[in-house]
């Protein structure tokens, strides 16, 4: 029996947290109640990327794109759309541009995207290996097992120009080739799924939406370099991704796509999941390998590189989730096809998690060379509440900020580095005029100081010192000398730290110091915070001539520090005020002043 309609319900973590599972269950029960259970297939898919408007439900073949769906809406969609054929207009996505109900292809969010890594996310059911197979899944593995030599595979990767998507951008073919050439056994394949940047969730969504692509790619690497064992290192706080990986591994084993004698080719390969406890430093490859071995997650000096001496001192290919997800496509379509996309030195696409003060926050995949302006304004829909763009932070705690004047720079590894930031794993946080750069630098540095493993002094001591200075600045107690010292400490950390964590930790501080020196000086010289974020530098007071004594601020104040008679001007007690700004935002008469 053929289905008449298909309902795709987003099953990414973001949509699940707004009850998409309940939506799915309601669809099943409503369809049953309406007697059309046999006619409609309901599928849970991976992330559609348009997280701002989640939960997403897509109905085919009409291509109706329903947004912000609630569990109770399932009834109406079934009764109106699926039974009577009338789409539920109030739930359809309305494009800002057209103001009419849009189909997926009309939505600006998707127009400039090119989805290689996310090719199956939002399209297939990630818990069904057959759907992956139907989308050419495991066809690349077939090719590698039966038609290509290992050298041809490496040649194809070399032509493709694929570079590591974990952030550093090391050519993938070179890594594989090192391991292949080492005369040692056993060899290992590792997938780095220890995504930890604040606000980044590219890898999680890829694993949740298309777990088989990772398994297939790792098996391809195993065959190419001569390894029979793979590990996926993933943090325990990604339960949904782990659950779907476990299902995927089980299904692949049952079909003989993992395990002994894969597809009767004589090649054995199996994959094991290792859970991390969520330490940021374990995303660093040598710390990650130590953690898999059961040691404390601390980096060690390189060389020797993991490609030569990795897991248990054996040659190990270690790549990031997004890098792996590109591999099957490169094998199937050819390296030359892949190399056509992107810029001269950075090929292919990059997935970004777009968050912060942006209208359409979500997951976007664009060709390398796309400009930040296109990502922020065309895809992201601009800044929320019509505020002014101030800066965008890329590369998470290891990256830096990029200001408005560089918005037209094409994004690739080299360009971002030139601007003092990095590609990183793909977090992008948009900031507007209300964000204080000192505060932002303090947030990121606070994160890396917490996550430093403590093994080397430049990172352990330098990070703490730098943070102390930032704290001084935010309290208005710093001098210009301190700014000079901060630059010195930052430079030393960059050169002397053992691993990437320490080497890049000063980046958020140094880049904000470069691009927003005036803002730092305002804190240091004038003892003011222009954005009004640094609590140590602002004072809220009530203007007696404007205050009508309505008492709203006093009722809202969480610490009860505002007093005054009815219809008489009120007063804020500065000794107990916590500077939350609640009075400032609730006053209808502009009587509360922030200085």
């Amino acid at each position: 029996m053929a289905f008449k309609n298909y309902v795709l319900v987003c099953g990414g973590t973001a949509c699940q947290s707004s009850k998409s599972e309940e939506i799915y269950k309601n669809f099943i029960s409503e369809l049953e109640a309406a007697g059309i259970k046999e006619d409609v297939q309901v599928v849970i898919t991976g992330c559609f990327g348009f997280c701002e408007k989640g939960p997403i439900v897509k109905v085919l073949p009409d291509e109706s794109f329903y947004v912000e769906v609630k569990p109770t809406d399932a009834k109406e969609i079934v009764a109106e759309h699926l039974v009577k054929g009338r789409p539920v207009k109030r739930l359809l996505y309305q494009g800002e541009e057209t103001k009419k109900h849009a189909k997926v292809e009309d939505i600006a969010f998707y127009q400039k995207q090119f989805r290689i890594v996310l090719r199956n996310c939002g399209v297939i059911n990630p818990e069904d290996i057959y759907e992956y197979i139907a989308r050419d899944g495991y066809a690349a593995l077939e090719k590698v097992l039966f038609e290509m030599t290992p050298d041809q595979v490496i040649q194809e990767l070399k032509v493709s120009g694929l570079r590591g998507r974990g952030g550093a951008g090391f050519p993938t073919w070179l890594k594989w080739n090192f391991t292949k050439q080492v005369n040692d056994s056993p060899k290992y394949i590792v997938c780095n799924a220890d995504e930890g940047d604040p606000g980044a969730y590219m890898d999680r969504s890829t694993l949740e939406g298309d777990p088989h692509s990772i398994l297939e790619a790792m098996t391809i690497a195993g065959k190419t370099v001569g390894a029979n064992k793979g590990y996926i290192y993933i943090r325990a706080e990604y339960p949904l991704a782990i659950h779907r990986l476990e299902i995927a591994i089980k299904q692949a084993r049952e079909l003989g796509l993992l395990g002994k004698d894969i597809l009767v080719s004589g090649f054995d390969f199996d994959i094991e999941i290792r859970l991390g406890a969520g330490a940021f430093v374990c995303g660093e490859e040598t710390a990650l390998l130590a953690s898999i071995e059961g040691e404390r997650g601390m980096p060690r000096p390189r060389p020797p590189f993991p490609a030569v001496k990795g897991l248990w001192q054996k040659p190990t290919v270690i790549n990031n989730v997004e890098t792996w997800a590109n591999i099957p496509v490169i094998i199937l379509r050819g390296g030359a096809w892949f190399a056509n996309i992107g810029t001269e030195k950075s090929k292919g696409t990059k997935v970004f998690a777009l968050t912060g003060k942006i209208r359409n926050s979500g997951l976007v995949e664009v060709p390398m060379g796309t400009t930040l302006r296109e990502i922020i304004y065309d895809i992201g829909g601009g800044i929320i509440n019509g505020k002014k763009f101030k800066a965008i932070q890329t590369g998470g705690p290891s990256g830096g900020v990029i200001t408005a004047e560089y918005l037209d720079t094409p994004i690739d590894y080299e360009n971002l580095q030139k601007l003092g930031s990095i590609m990183g794993s793909g977090g992008m946080i948009v900031m507007d005029e209300d964000d204080c750069m000192v505060d932002i630098a303090k947030f990121y540095l606070g994160f890396t100081v917490d996550e430093s493993c403590g093994k080397c002094a430049p990172c352990r001591v330098g990070g703490r010192q730098l943070l102390n200075y930032l704290d001084k600045i935010s309290k208005g107690k710093a001098t210009r000398d301190d700014l000079v010292k901060m630059k010195q400490i930052g430079a030393a950390m960059k050169r002397a730290s053992l691993c990437g964590l320490g080497q890049t930790a000063p980046n958020p501080v140094l880049s904000t110091l470069t691009y927003f020196e005036k803002e730092y000086l305002a804190h240091v010289d004038d003892k003011t915070c222009p954005a009004g974020k640094c609590k140590g530098l602002i004072i809220y007071s009530i203007l007696p001539e404007k205050c009508i004594g309505c008492g709203l601020c006093a009722r809202r104040c969480p610490v009860n520090c505002i007093t005054g008679e009815k219809r008489q001007p009120h007063v804020i007690d500065q000794s107990t005020c916590i500077k939350c700004g609640e009075c400032y935002s609730v006053c209808k008469f502009g009587a509360v002043m922030r200085k």
């Binding site: 029996m1 053929a2 289905f3 008449k4 309609n5 298909y6 297939q41 085919l60 073949p61 009409d62 291509e63 009577k84 054929g85 009338r86 292809e105 297939i124 057959y130 759907e131 197979i133 139907a134 989308r135 050419d136 899944g137 495991y138 066809a139 077939e142 097992l145 039966f146 299904q251 049952e254 079909l255 003989g256 796509l257 395990g259 004698d261 597809l263 009767v264 080719s265």
Partner: protein
């Protein structure tokens, strides 16, 4: 599930691909739209729709989208079905019972021959398209 050989995997992929392709819309150039308003359903449009889907599957046609729509205005001639495909004029057929649906797939879509005794009209211009 049992362990597969290369041939089995290839065969499985072909079958599953056809199943999944039905879900997709892009790249399909033939469109069948069945009027599924109250009048259409009362006249048997549900059976007609199923007949289309089954025949398309039997003929292994993957480049056809089957859509449902509301009343086309020909309540006296329900179920009504609109066919749009390259190389043929856009046509609305009336009184399409399951048998006629099979005929439409075989003659109109595959054979590119109109089924004269069921032709009602050609679709009105769509004012939403410029």
């Amino acid at each position: 599930m049992a362990k597969m050989t290369l041939e089995e995997l290839k065969k499985l992929r072909e079958t599953k691909k056809r199943e999944l392709e039905k879900r997709e819309v892009t790249g399909k150039d033939i469109e069948i739209t069945v009027g599924m308003a109250t009048c259409g359903i009362a006249a048997g449009a549900k059976q007609t729709l199923s007949a289309f889907l089954n025949e398309l599957e039997a003929q292994n046609l993957s480049n056809v989208v089957v859509r449902q729509t509301g009343c086309m205005g020909y309540c006296y001639a329900e179920p009504t079905v609109e066919i749009r495909m390259p190389g043929m004029p856009d046509i609305i057929y009336g009184k399409v019972d399951p048998e006629t649906a099979v005929k439409i797939v075989r003659k109109h879509i595959l054979g590119k021959v109109l089924i004269n005794d069921h032709i009602l009209d050609k679709p009105a211009a769509d004012i939403m398209k410029k």
